[in-house]
C-alpha cells in the first residue's frame, strides 16, 4: 500500500485505551427502543464487523458513534472522550455545534448510499472538507486527494462527476473523501449493500487494504466473507442488543446462541 494509507495508521496508534467504548448505550425513536443497552469495545487498529438482521439497531449504533444520533442513556466515548458531551464536576454539558463538528472531523464515515456531493467532481468531493473545515491550502489538499484517489484506484476519474461513475467507483471516492480528513476511526454503514454484485469486490478490496494499514474500523456489513477474512472481531446484534461477539471465525462457524445460528443459516 502506498504512503498516504500508511500515514493514516500512524494517527491510529497515538493514544492508549480503546478507540470506541460503549457502555449500556440506549436509544429510542419515540416509543420505539432501538438500542437496549449496548456494550462494545473497539481497540486501536481493530477491525470490528457488526452483523445482524435489518432493524436490529446496528446502523443506529454506528451513527451514534459520530453523534449523527444522540444517545438517551449510557456512556459512549471515542478515543477516551465522551461523544456529544463534556463531563465536568460530575455534570454533563452538551457540546456546542462547533465542538461536535471538530469531533466528527476526526471520524470518517462511509454510507450505504455513498452520498457523494453530486455538484462536485470526485476531486472536489475529496478536497472539500480539508479545505473548508481544516483550512488546508488548496494545492496541498489536491496533492493529498490525488494520492488518496490513487490509493482507491480512482486516479483516472478525478474530474468525473458522481453521476458519471458506477456505484463501486462512487463508494471508493466516498472512502477517499472520508480519509482526506485523516480520521482516527472509520465507520462503514453497509458500504456494499447498494452495489451490484460484481462491484462489491472492488470496494471490499479498498477496505481490506485500509485495514492492513492499521486503521481502526467499525463495519456494519452483510459480507460474511469480508468479516471472516479481514475482521478482528465480530458482533452479532439483534433487537437492540449484542447477542454474541468474538473472533469472526468462532462466531461464524460455531455460534453459541440460537438467534445467531438462525440468522447465519439464512445468510450463509
Amino acid at each position: 500500500m502506498s504512503t498516504s494509507f500508511e500515514a493514516q495508521a500512524a494517527t491510529a496508534f497515538a493514544g492508549t485505551g480503546p478507540m470506541v467504548l460503549a457502555e449500556q448505550v440506549h436509544k429510542s425513536f419515540g416509543l420505539l427502543e432501538v438500542l437496549k443497552g449496548i456494550d462494545i469495545e473497539v481497540g486501536r487498529g481493530e477491525v470490528m464487523c457488526i452483523i445482524g438482521p435489518s432493524g436490529s439497531g446496528k446502523s443506529t449504533f454506528l451513527r451514534c458513534i459520530n453523534h449523527l444520533e444522540k444517545i438517551d442513556a449510557g456512556r459512549l466515548s471515542v478515543d477516551g472522550e465522551l461523544v456529544g458531551y463534556r463531563q465536568q464536576g460530575g455534570k454533563l454539558y452538551e457540546l456546542r455545534d462547533r465542538e461536535v463538528c471538530a469531533k466528527r472531523a476526526e471520524i470518517g464515515m462511509v454510507f450505504q448510499q455513498f452520498n457523494l456531493f453530486p455538484h462536485m467532481t470526485a476531486l472536489e468531493n475529496v478536497i472539500e472538507a480539508p479545505v473548508r473545515v481544516r483550512k488546508m491550502p488548496k494545492n496541498e489538499a489536491t496533492d493529498l486527494a490525488n494520492q488518496l484517489l490513487a490509493d482507491t484506484g480512482m486516479e483516472d476519474k478525478a474530474s468525473a462527476y458522481p453521476k458519471q461513475l458506477s456505484g463501486g467507483q462512487q463508494q471508493r471516492v466516498a472512502i477517499a473523501r472520508a480519509l482526506a480528513m485523516r480520521p482516527k476511526l472509520m465507520l462503514f454503514d453497509e458500504p456494499t449493500s447498494a452495489l451490484d454484485p460484481e462491484l462489491v469486490g472492488e470496494v471490499l478490496g479498498v477496505m481490506r487494504n485500509l485495514a492492513k494499514t492499521g486503521m481502526t474500523m467499525v463495519v456494519v456489513t452483510h459480507e460474511m466473507g469480508f468479516a471472516r477474512e479481514v475482521g478482528d472481531s465480530l458482533v452479532f446484534m439483534d433487537d437492540g442488543v449484542v447477542v454474541e461477539s468474538g473472533r469472526p471465525r468462532d462466531v461464524l462457524s460455531n455460534p453459541q446462541h440460537e438467534r445467531t445460528s438462525a440468522f447465519l443459516s439464512k445468510v450463509l
Binding site: 476526526e106 456531493f117 453530486p118 467532481t121 453521476k163 472520508a178
Partner: protein, 326 residues
C-alpha cells in the same frame, strides 16, 4: 431441411429490405392547419392594412429618450426588487426551516401577510407611509434616536416602489427557496456533517448549490413576472416604461401605438431574460446529468460544421466507391 434453407434465403436477400409503407393520413391535422393559417393571414392583414395601429408613430417613439428613460426605470425596479426579494427569500426560507419556533413563526407570519395582500395595495401603502409615520428615526429600540428624517422626503415614489415590490417578492422567493432546500436529499446533509462541516457551511457549500436546480426555473419565472408587475409602479407616479408612454399619449392621444411601443419593449426584455435563464439553468445542472445537452448555438455550429464537411467531401469521393456499396 430448415437450416440450409434459411442460410440460402439469407444469402439471396442480403440485408433486409427498407420498409416502404403507405403512411396513415391525418385529415384532421390538415383542417386544423388550414384554420390556423387563415387566422394568421387575417392577423397579418389587419396589422398591415389598419392605419390606426400607427406603425410610423411606433417607429417614431420606439427609441425616444422618454421611452428609454422609462425602460431604464423598469429595469432598475426589476433588478433591485428581485435582489431584495432573493436575499430576503433565502433569509426567510432558512428561518422558516429553523428549529426555533419564534424564527419559523416570524417567517410564516411575514409570508402570510405579504402573500395575502395585493401588491398594488402594498405599493400604495408604502407610497402613503407618511400618513402613518410623518417622521422616521433611527436609534435604539424604545430608546434614544440618532437620526431623524421626514418620511415624505425619505420615501420617494421610487423608494416606495422598490420597497413594495421587493418586500412582496421576498415572500414568494421564500417559498421557492424553501422548496429548493427541501428537495436536497437528507443524505447530503449527513455526509457533510460526517466530515465535520458546520450547519452554515453545509447550507452554503452543499445544500444551496444543489437546491439551485430547483430554485432557478421558478426564480426566472418570478423575474419575468416582476418585469411586468413593475408597471404597477405607474400608479404611484414612478416614470417606468408604462407611465412614460402614458405621459406621452395623454398629450398626443396616440394611445394604441404607444401601448404597442411599451409591449414590444416588454417582449424584448422577457426574451432576453428567457435566454439568460437557459444558461443559468445549464450552469447549475452540472453533475445532475451524465453530460450536459448542447446549447442551441453549439448545436447550430455543429450542424453547420457537419453540413460543411459533407459538402466539402462529396465531390472528392471517387465514383467507384458508391458503386461498390450497391
Amino acid at each position: 431441411m430448415t437450416t440450409p434453407r434459411t442460410a440460402q434465403t439469407a444469402e439471396r436477400t442480403g440485408p433486409p429490405e427498407v420498409i416502404k409503407a403507405v403512411p396513415v393520413r391525418h385529415p384532421g391535422r390538415w383542417v386544423a392547419a388550414a384554420v390556423v393559417l387563415v387566422l394568421v393571414a387575417m392577423l397579418v392583414n389587419t396589422l398591415v392594412t389598419n392605419p390606426r395601429f400607427g406603425w410610423n408613430i411606433i417607429g417614431q417613439y420606439f427609441l425616444s429618450s422618454r421611452v428609454l428613460t422609462g425602460l431604464g426605470y423598469t429595469i432598475l425596479l426589476t433588478v433591485v426588487a428581485m435582489a431584495i426579494g432573493i436575499v430576503l427569500g433565502v433569509l426567510l426560507a432558512v428561518m422558516r426551516l429553523s428549529v426555533n419556533p419564534l424564527l419559523s413563526g416570524a417567517s410564516w407570519v411575514y409570508i402570510w401577510f405579504f402573500r395575502g395582500t395585493p401588491v398594488l395595495v402594498q405599493l400604495l401603502f408604502w407610497f402613503n407611509l407618511a400618513f402613518l409615520y410623518p417622521r422616521i428615526s433611527l436609534g435604539v429600540p424604545f430608546g434614544p434616536a440618532f437620526v431623524h428624517g421626514n418620511a415624505n422626503s425619505l420615501i420617494t415614489a421610487l423608494a416606495a416602489a422598490i420597497l413594495g415590490l421587493g418586500l412582496n417578492e421576498g415572500a414568494y422567493m421564500a417559498e421557492i427557496v424553501r422548496a429548493g432546500i427541501l428537495s436536497v436529499d437528507h443524505g447530503q446533509i449527513e455526509a457533510a456533517q460526517a466530515v465535520g462541516m458546520s450547519r452554515a457551511l453545509t447550507m452554503r457549500r452543499i445544500i444551496l448549490p444543489q437546491a439551485m436546480r430547483v430554485i432557478i426555473p421558478p426564480t426566472g419565472n418570478e423575474t419575468i413576472s416582476m418585469l411586468k408587475t413593475s408597471s404597477l409602479a405607474s400608479v404611484i407616479t414612478v416614470t417606468e416604461l408604462l407611465y412614460a408612454v402614458q405621459l406621452i399619449y395623454s398629450v398626443n392621444f396616440q394611445t394604441i401605438p404607444l401601448l404597442i411601443v411599451a409591449s414590444i419593449w416588454y417582449l424584448i426584455m422577457t426574451s432576453v431574460l428567457t435566454i439568460g435563464q437557459y444558461y443559468v439553468e445549464r450552469y447549475y445542472a452540472r453533475g445532475a446529468a451524465r453530460s450536459l445537452p448542447l446549447t442551441p448555438l453549439q448545436r447550430l455550429r455543429r450542424n453547420l460544421v457537419i453540413t460543411h464537411d459533407r459538402l466539402a467531401k462529396q465531390p472528392m469521393q471517387p465514383p467507384g466507391e458508391s458503386g461498390e456499396r450497391r
